[in-house]
Each structure stands twice: as structure tokens, then as C-alpha cells.
Symmetry: C2
DNA sequence: GTCTATACACAGATAGAC
DNA sequence: GTCTATCTGTGTATAGAC
């Protein structure tokens, strides 16, 4: 039966997402992706000019859902410290799922670390910057001094927690990251007074 | 001229180190490594039973030098807070070198994330555990409560800093990690009193 | 005009035979 | 140390079907 062009493209990206995320970028062939998507290679190359092109689209498609999930994990209630502890606690549970394999962006960067212009690198960079912006807004709203530094440090904790959990397959690294995040944002780091004490532990 | 067997093996591992670390594990072929080492593939397969075997040896060879460098960066003077700030400052400079491409162990884990038994995974895990043990000794010596949690959080900061610097190619993520490390180990985390105040910022 | 199906070019991969 | 077996990779070409 005839296909809708946009649907076909989405199916290819969906197939790529499953295979790339689980097995890695170099480890998965265009053939395997076309097969899983139920299209021929001819169709594949009709929609994407190369495998690298697909890699860029794969990561772009993960950007927004990933950040949405992060926002959901952190929630909107309580101090930044509360939100980050909650975030890392959710990360700890999510990482125990059978399909969890760390951060697709970081793994893409790891595979193409020496290719500065590659879509994997540029797309990952944009995604991480968007994550950091989300944290920066949160930290700034709470009135922290040196909000940029704190936001960067929180990004470091997130990526580091994901990496350590991936290597050891042990969720307690996420919990420890939550502990560090709380110590970072809950102790005398405020530029303004907070007489209601909402940031005191 | 005839070669010494152990020397040949070392040359192969040295060639693998240069190529694997700069380009990644899947991206480099056995041919390229044998070429760079100046041996034939026959010789290569005489010393290693497979590429995966070589990958394991490549990472094993990086274990000790990496940890020695970490110890050198941190130094032996001052509080844990001082050492970690110094460590991240050294990481910031080192990451600006032209050949720097993040952590080989983390990148190996990223490439083989779905292959639990692979030498890349098991070797990386052992290495990271050794790093953590070094930190744990340091933190324990200073008398911190919950030393295990702090050591894990410091590992999270190290791996996270390396990842973020790799993605953005911007050393200020390492500096921010140092800031977070100091807040983690210098504020009321001690189990015992420290009347000399050496941990007060 | 987008898809399927198949075949093909050509380079490169791992591994091993001679 | 060379040479080759066998497979797999990306990307293209040639068919025709809905």
C-alpha cells in the first residue's frame, strides 16, 4: 500500500531510535534500520541523504521528549533542592528499566568525539545547552548568587550520574548525585534573604 | 630484525591507544592498528585472539596511568576541598590539549552499553571502582560522615565534568564541578570536630 | 510519484590459511 | 609475511507495482 511520506520518515526515525539507542551509532547499519522500519534502502535514501544525516535527525527527535521527561521528574513543587533530589530519585528508578542505556546524546558524543562538525556533536551540544537553560531558569528564579555556575554544576551532576549508573549499573550513584545537588543549592548560596526558610533543608 | 615478543605486544597496545582514544573503538580497524604498530595481521592475531581482546588490553593499560595522573592533579596538600578544586582546575587545563577527547573508559562504555559481558564494560567498571576507592580513602581520612556517598558524588562530578567539557569543548564545566565539590566536602559534613578550621572554606 | 524488490558496485571489516 | 576467504558496510541502479 502507498505510504504517506512524512509517516515513512517518522517510522524510519523511530526504528533508528530503537536500534541506535540500544546498540550504538557505529554498531547499527542502515540496512538494519531500513529493515526494522519496513522500508527498502532506496526509500531510506529517498528521505535521508546519508547515515550521518539520519543520526542528526535521530538525536533531534530525542531532544524535546528528553527535556520534557526531565521537567516531569523534577516537578514544580518545593525548592530547587527538593526538585533536584526528586529528579535524581526518579532517575534512579528509571535507570533500572531493562531498556535504559544512559544518555543517547552523551553516547553519540563519545562515539564521534574527534569529529567536531558531525551532526551528532552539534545536536548533542544544542540539547545539553537547552537542559542547562532549564536549570538556569530554575536556579535564577530562586535567587541564587552565581546561578550560571550552579546550573553548570547541576548539569555536571546529571551527566555524571547517568554515566556512573551506566558503568556500574547501580542506581545509588544517582542518589549520591541528589545528595550533592542538595548540598550545592541549599546552603547559604542565596543572594537574597529567604525569611520563610524554604531553602533551609 | 627479530622482535622481542613482549615489546611487540606493547607496541600494538600503544598503537591501539592512540587510535582508539582519538577515533573510538568501532571506528578503528585491526588493519589500521597493525599498520600503525608496524606489524602484520598475522603477528597481531598471534598476540591477541580478537579485536575485543585488544580492547580489553587497551583499557587495562590505561587504568594505572590515569589514576596516577589524577593523584598528581589532586596533590597531597590541603583539605579534600583544596585537593578537589585543584584537581578540577588541572582537568580544565588538560582538557584544552589538542589530543584530549574525554575519558576513554566512559567512551568505551558508551559504545558497548548494551553488551554487559564485554571487556570494555568490565574493565571500565574496575577502573572506575579504583578511582572511587582513591577518593573514598581521601574522604575517610578527613573524617567525613557518609564517606561512601561523598566519594560516589565526587566520582559523579569527575565523570560529569569530563562529559560536559567534551560535549561543549569548554573548560568552565570543570571549574563549576570544582565549585560543587568544594560545597560538598567543606560544609558541616564532618563527623568529628575540626577545631583548626581547616575545612572551613 | 512514492514505494517495493532485487541486484550491484566498491570499499572495508575480522579472521585465518598458506 | 602474503594472500585470501567470508562477511558486512554505505550508497546506487534497475526493475516494476499501487
Amino acid at each position: 500500500m502507498p505510504r504517506d511520506g512524512l509517516l515513512t520518515r517518522k517510522q524510519i526515525v523511530a526504528a533508528a531510535d530503537e536500534l541506535f539507542y540500544s546498540q550504538g551509532l557505529h554498531a547499527v547499519s542502515v540496512d538494519a534500520i531500513a529493515d526494522k522500519a519496513g522500508v527498502t534502502k532506496k526509500t531510506f535514501y529517498n528521505h535521508f541523504k546519508s547515515k550521518d544525516d539520519l543520526i542528526g535527525s535521530y538525536l533531534e527527535a530525542r531532544d524535546r521528549p528528553t527535556i520534557d521527561r526531565f521537567k516531569e521528574w523534577a516537578g514544580n513543587e518545593g525548592s530547587v533542592a527538593d526538585r533536584m533530589v526528586r529528579f535524581f530519585s526518579k532517575l534512579a528508578s528509571a535507570s533500572q528499566g531493562p531498556r535504559w542505556n544512559g544518555c543517547g546524546f552523551m553516547r553519540a558524543t563519545a562515539e564521534f568525539a574527534n569529529m567536531q562538525g558531525h551532526p551528532a556533536i552539534t545536536t548533542a551540544r544544542v540539547h545539553k545547552a537547552r537542559c542547562e537553560q532549564w536549570l538556569l531558569n530554575m536556579v535564577t528564579e530562586e535567587g541564587h548568587a552565581d546561578a550560571e555556575t550552579i546550573a553548570r554544576a547541576l548539569m555536571v551532576l546529571i551527566d555524571g550520574a547517568v554515566s556512573q549508573v551506566l558503568i556500574h549499573r547501580d542506581a545509588k550513584y544517582a542518589t549520591s548525585a541528589g545528595f550533592a545537588a542538595r548540598s550545592l543549592v541549599s546552603k547559604g548560596q542565596l543572594a537574597s534573604d529567604t525569611p520563610d526558610g524554604k531553602n533551609q533543608s
